[in-house]
Symmetry: C2
Subunit: 597 residues, 2 copies
C-alpha cells in the first residue's frame, strides 16, 4: 500500500524561518497561532491524514461511488467514518469565524492542512474542501438569515456544500448558461436546469447538502450580466432549523472519470427546486469570483499534494528496489544488485520532484499568509498589497503547481517501471487524480489568460511591479552574500527574462491581443519558475541562518541547500526557452485557416 | 465516439517527396513497392484501422480482458474478429519472407501500418505487434526446424507470439532472472518459473501461442552471461505440425493496469513446460537484443500514434465546441459563441502537437527505411551506415517519441476541459494508453543510458559523427536558400548545442560516469529535438519543391511550412535549456546521502 507522511517539519521550517508566522501576531487569529500551537495542530492533522485518510485512498479508487436506483449515492467503504472524524476534529471550521462555530485560526493553517488531506486522499478531501468553499461564499455574500440557517451546520460538518456552475454546453464561458430561476413570490425562486461535473453533488456523508447554484432569473439580461447565485439545499430547512421535505434537486447520474473515483461527480437535475438568492440579482458571477482565489489556491495545493505523495512513494521504492549496479562500482556488493537510488537518472528524477515540491510549498504558504493579511489586516495599505499579491499569484499557483504537480507525479510513477503502470502500487492513481487539478476551477489555459489578460495590467501593473521590485531588491541586498552564491545570479537571470516577457506583451499585445493569448501559457510558467526561484533563494538564506544557530539541523539544512541548488542549475534554465516562445508572437500560431487543421 | 483517420496523405508526402522510396528500388521487396502500390496498400490498411480497429477502442478499454476460472482469457467483444480480419488481410506477414508465407515488402510499410493500428486501437494492435516481434527473433535465431514448425502459422496469424523477459524481482536488470531450464535429454528443456507483465500472454484469438522465454540453464553462469532463449508453445506441436497436448504453461492472473485494458497482461507460470533452445546456450540476451531495435522503434511509433489520434480528436472538438469569443472580436457573431479553435492558446496547443506528430512521423519513416537497408542491402558499407543509424536513433525514437507522445496526448486531452477527464470522450484512454509506451521495452531512462552509455561511443563515435555531418552538410548546402529561412539557423543552433553536449560528456564522463548518467535524459531529448528539427528542414525543402510543381497542393504545403516554422520558433529553443542541464553535471544530483531522501 502507498505510504504517506505529512511534511510537518518542512512546513515548520517555512513558518518559523522563512515567513515567520509570529510576525503576523497583530492579525486576528494569529496571536493564538504560536509556533508550538501550530506544530501541535498540524501534528494532529498529520495523524488524521496518515492514519485515517491515506489508508482509504487506494480502496476508494478501486470501489468508486455508486448511484443507487433511488438516486442516492454510496461512497466507498470507510469514507463516511473518515469524514466524520475530520468534522469531529473541528477541521472544517479551523479558520471559520467563531460566531458560526469555527476556531478563527489563520486560513494559512487550513491551506497547509489541505495539502496533507489532498496527499492522503484527494477524492475524500474534496468533500470537506468544497464545503469550505461554499462556507466562504456564504460568509461574504449571504444575508444574516441565510448565514444563520446554513453556516453553523456546515462549519460543524453535519451538512456539506457544493458549487454548481457547469452545464453541458458551458464551462469556461458561463455567459451561456441556461438554468432558470423563477420567483415563487415568497422570496424564494424555483430553479430548473441541468448542471454537470458537480463534485460531491450527492453522497451519504452528511445530513444535508447545500448547493450553491448559478442560474438566470427570468427576464435577466443575456450573457454574464444576467447570472445570479442561489443557495439550494437538498433538504429544505424549516424555520426552527430542523430538516423538512426533500427539495426538487437530485443526482441524475455519476460520471465515469479518469481519477478521483472516490468523489461523486454528479449530473444534478434541478426541477423547480426552491432556492434563495445570495448577494445581488445578476451579480452571481461576481459573488462566485470572490471565493475563486481561495478555491484556485486550494487546487494548486492539490497539484503539489499529488506530487508530494508520489515523491514519497518513489523514494521508498528507489531505496528498496534492487536493479543494476552503480556506474561507479557496486555500492552494495553483498546484495544481488544495488537499490536503484544509486543511479544518477533516478536521482535526477527524485531531485527534480523534491525541488519542485519544496518551492511549491513555500509559494503556497507565502500566498496563503497574504490571503490572511488581505482579509484580516486593519491596515488598508497592507490589505491592498496582500490582495494584489493574491490576485497575481493565484493563477500562477493554480496553473503552474497543477501542470508541474501532474508532471512530477508522472516522473515518480516512472521510477516504478512496469510496477508503476499496474494499479496495486497506487502510482497510477496519483497520476490520474493529479490530472483533474489541471482542469477544474478553470482549466490552466484560462489561468494563463487570467494572469496575462487581467492581472498583469490591473491598476497600472501595480501588483506585478511590486513583485518585480521585491525580487530585485532581494537580489540586490544579497548579491554579496557568499552563502547565496549559485542562487542570486540564476534568479536575477530569470527575473530578467520575466521582465523582458512582460515588456514584450506591453509592446506587442495592445495592438494585437492574440500576441498575449499565444504567449500566455509560456508566460505563466516563466512566472512560476521565477516565483519558485525566489522561494528557493529565500529558503537558502533561512537555511544558512538556521544552520548558523546550530541545534543539530545541519544535515537537514544542507539537504535543503542542495535541493535549492539543483533547482537553480536544472530547472531555472527553462526561463530562456519560455521567453523565446513568448517573443515568437502569434503570427505562426494563428496563420493556418481553421480548415487546415 | 472518438474519430480516427489514418494520415495516408502525410505518409505519401514523406515517401514520395522527403525520402523517395523509389530510390531504394534495388533492395529486395522495394521494386514491388511502387508509389501507387504503396498508396493502395496503405489505403487498405487505413480502412481496416478506421472501420474495424478504431470502433473497438473505447469498448475494449471499458470491457477489458477477463481471466476465466480455467485459466483461459476472454478478450473484449469484437477483438477476435478484428484480429482475424487483420490476419486474413495478410498484414501479419506484410514484410515477412515469402518462403514462410509473407509478402516480403519493405518493413517500413509495416512500421507505417503499425502507426495506424496503434492509433486506432493500441491494445488490440499489440497482439499482432508482439507476434511480429517473435517472428523477427525466430527468423534470425531459430533453427531451420523451428522456423518450419512455427513461422508459417505465425505469419498466417493463426498462432500468435509473446516475449517473456520480466520476473517479479527483475525487469531492467535481467541478470537477476531465476526461471530455470533443465535438459529433458531429448533436445528439449523443462522450463520452470514465473514471468510477469507478459502482454498477450493468454487470449482467445489464436489456436496457439508461441512464447519466447528467457531462462537460465541449470549450471549456467550467474548474471547476464547465463541466460538462454527458448521457444515454449502453449500447445505442443506434433511432428506433422498439428496441435498436440497442452504444455505446462498457464496464465496465473491478469494485471489491473492504468490503460491498454484490451490487452491481456499476464502473470505466466511455467511449470516444467517443454521448451526448445533458440540460438546458442547462454546467449539469450544477445538473441533478444537483435530484435530490440525493431521492437523499440515500434514502441516509439506507438507514442506518436497516441499523440496523432488524440490530436485528431482535439481538432474535431476545438472546431465544434462553442465557448467564449475571439480576442480580436467575434468570428461567428450569429452563433452563441465562437468555436474554441479561435483562441490562441488552443491554437498553440494544437500546433505543438501537430508539429511534433509530423516530425516524429518523418523520423520514424527515415529510421524504418534505414532498418530495411541494414537488413536488405547488398552493399556492406550501406548496410553498416544504415545499421549505425538504427542503433543510434532507436533509443531516441523510443524515448523521445513516447515521452512527447504522452505529453501531447495530455495536451490534447486538456482541450476538452472537464469532458477530457470523463471516459466517454476517449481522451483519458489515449493518455492512459500512451503512458505504457514510456515504460515497456526498456523504460525511457534506460533508453537515455543506452544512447549515452553505449551508442555514442560505439565504434569511435562513428554513428553520431555521421549524423552530425549529415545535418551540418544539409545546413551548409541550404544556408543561402531563401525558402528555408527560419529553418536553417535554428537547426544549426540546435546542432551546436547537441555537439556541445556531446563534447561535455567526452570531457567529463570518462573520469566520472555519473556525469553521463545525470545528463542522459536531457541529452536524449536534446538529440530528439535536433533530429526532429532536421526532419522539419528536410520537409520544408521538399514542400517548397512540391509547391513549385503546382498540382493544387499549395495549401497543404503551406500548412506544412507553417507547422515547421512553429516547431522552429517554439520547440527548438528548448535545446539551450537541455544543454544547461547536461553541463550542470552530477555534483548536485548525487550530493545527498540516500538517507536524506
Amino acid at each position: 500500500m502507498p505510504v504517506y507522511k505529512a511534511p510537518v517539519e518542512d512546513v515548520m521550517f517555512l513558518l518559523n524561518d522563512v515567513f515567520p508566522i509570529e510576525r503576523y501576531n497583530n492579525l486576528p487569529g494569529f496571536a493564538e497561532a504560536t509556533p508550538d500551537m501550530v506544530e501541535a495542530i498540524l501534528g494532529e492533522g498529520a495523524k488524521l491524514c496518515e492514519e485515517v485518510f491515506a489508508p482509504l485512498n487506494l480502496t476508494g479508487d478501486q470501489e468508486g461511488c455508486k448511484r443507487n436506483p433511488d438516486g442516492s449515492v454510496t461512497t466507498p467503504k470507510g469514507f463516511k467514518e473518515a469524514y466524520e472524524a475530520y468534522a469531529a476534529g473541528g477541521w472544517m471550521g479551523l479558520a471559520a469565524p467563531e460566531e458560526y462555530g469555527g476556531q478563527g485560526l489563520p486560513s494559512a493553517l487550513n491551506t497547509i492542512m489541505q495539502e496533507f488531506v489532498s496527499s492522503a486522499n484527494l477524492a475524500l478531501g474534496m468533500y470537506p474542501g468544497l464545503t469550505q468553499g461554499a462556507i466562504a461564499a456564504l460568509l461574504v455574500h449571504g444575508s444574516e438569515e441565510i448565514k444563520k440557517t446554513y453556516l453553523p451546520k456546515m462549519v460543524e460538518g453535519v451538512w456539506t456544500g457544493t458549487m454548481n456552475l457547469t452545464e453541458p454546453h458551458c464551462g469556461t464561458d458561463l455567459g451561456l448558461l441556461k438554468t432558470k430561476a423563477v420567483p415563487n413570490g415568497d422570496g424564494s425562486y424555483a430553479i430548473s436546469g441541468t448542471k454537470i461535473f458537480i463534485s460531491a453533488g450527492e453522497h451519504d456523508m452528511a445530513e444535508n447538502i447545500v448547493h450553491l447554484v448559478l442560474a438566470r432569473i427570468e427576464g435577466a439580461p443575456a450573457g454574464t450580466k444576467g447570472i445570479s447565485l442561489f443557495v439550494v439545499p437538498k433538504i429544505l430547512v424549516k424555520e426552527d432549523g430542523s430538516l423538512g421535505e426533500r427539495n426538487g434537486v437530485s443526482c441524475g447520474s455519476l460520471e465515469h472519470k479518469m481519477g478521483i473515483h472516490g468523489n461523486a461527480t454528479c449530473v444534478m437535475n434541478y426541477d423547480g427546486a426552491r432556492g434563495w438568492l445570495i448577494g445581488q440579482e445578476n451579480r452571481g458571477l461576481a459573488a462566485m469570483f470572490v471565493m475563486m482565489n481561495e478555491a484556485r489556491l486550494a487546487v494548486g495545493v492539490q497539484g503539489l499534494a499529488q506530487s508530494e505523495v508520489a515523491y514519497q512513494n518513489a523514494v521508498a521504492y528507489a531505496k528498496d528496489r534492487l536493479q543494476g549496479r552503480s556506474l561507479t562500482g557496486a555500492k552494495f556488493p553483498d546484495r544481488p544488485a544495488d537499490p536503484i537510488i544509486v543511479h544518477p537518472d533516478v536521482r535526477r528524477t527524485l531531485m527534480s520532484i523534491r525541488a519542485f515540491n519544496e518551492a511549491a510549498r513555500a509559494l503556497v504558504i507565502w500566498t496563503a499568509l497574504n490571503s490572511d493579511i488581505a482579509h484580516r489586516s486593519s491596515d488598508e495599505a497592507q490589505r491592498q498589497s496582500a490582495d494584489d499579491h493574491m490576485g497575481l499569484m493565484t493563477p500562477v499557483v493554480k496553473g503552474v503547481l497543477t501542470d508541474l504537480g501532474f508532471e512530477m507525479a508522472v516522473k515518480a510513477q516512472q521510477m516504478f517501471g512496469g510496477h508503476g503502470y499496474i494499479e496495486e502500487w497506487g502510482m497510477s492513481q496519483f497520476v490520474r487524480d493529479a490530472r483533474i487539478t489541471m482542469i477544474y476551477e478553470g482549466a490552466n489555459g484560462i489561468q494563463a489568460m487570467d494572469l496575462v489578460g487581467r492581472k498583469l495590467g490591473k491598476d497600472g501593473g501595480r501588483a506585478v511591479m511590486a513583485f518585480f521590485n521585491e525580487v530585485a531588491a532581494f537580489c540586490q541586498e544579497n548579491a554579496g552574500d557568499e552563502n547565496l552564491k549559485g542562487f542570486i545570479a540564476p534568479l536575477e537571470q530569470g527575473l530578467n527574462h520575466l521582465q523582458q516577457g512582460t515588456m514584450w506583451f506591453m509592446q506587442n499585445a495592445m495592438a494585437r491581443p492574440d500576441n498575449a493569448g499565444a504567449g500566455a501559457t509560456d508566460y505563466m510558467h516563466l512566472f512560476g519558475l521565477v516565483a519558485m526561484g525566489y522561494m528557493w533563494a529565500k529558503m537558502a538564506k533561512a537555511a544558512h541562518a538556521r544552520k548558523a544557530e546550530g541545534n543539530g539541523v545541519a544535515e537537514r539544512m544542507d539537504a535543503k541547500l542542495t535541493t535549492g541548488r539543483f533547482f537553480m542549475e536544472r530547472m531555472m534554465p527553462e526561463t530562456a526557452a519560455r521567453l523565446a516562445c513568448i517573443s515568437a508572437g502569434a503570427d505562426t500560431t494563428m496563420a493556418l485557416p481553421a480548415e487546415a487543421f
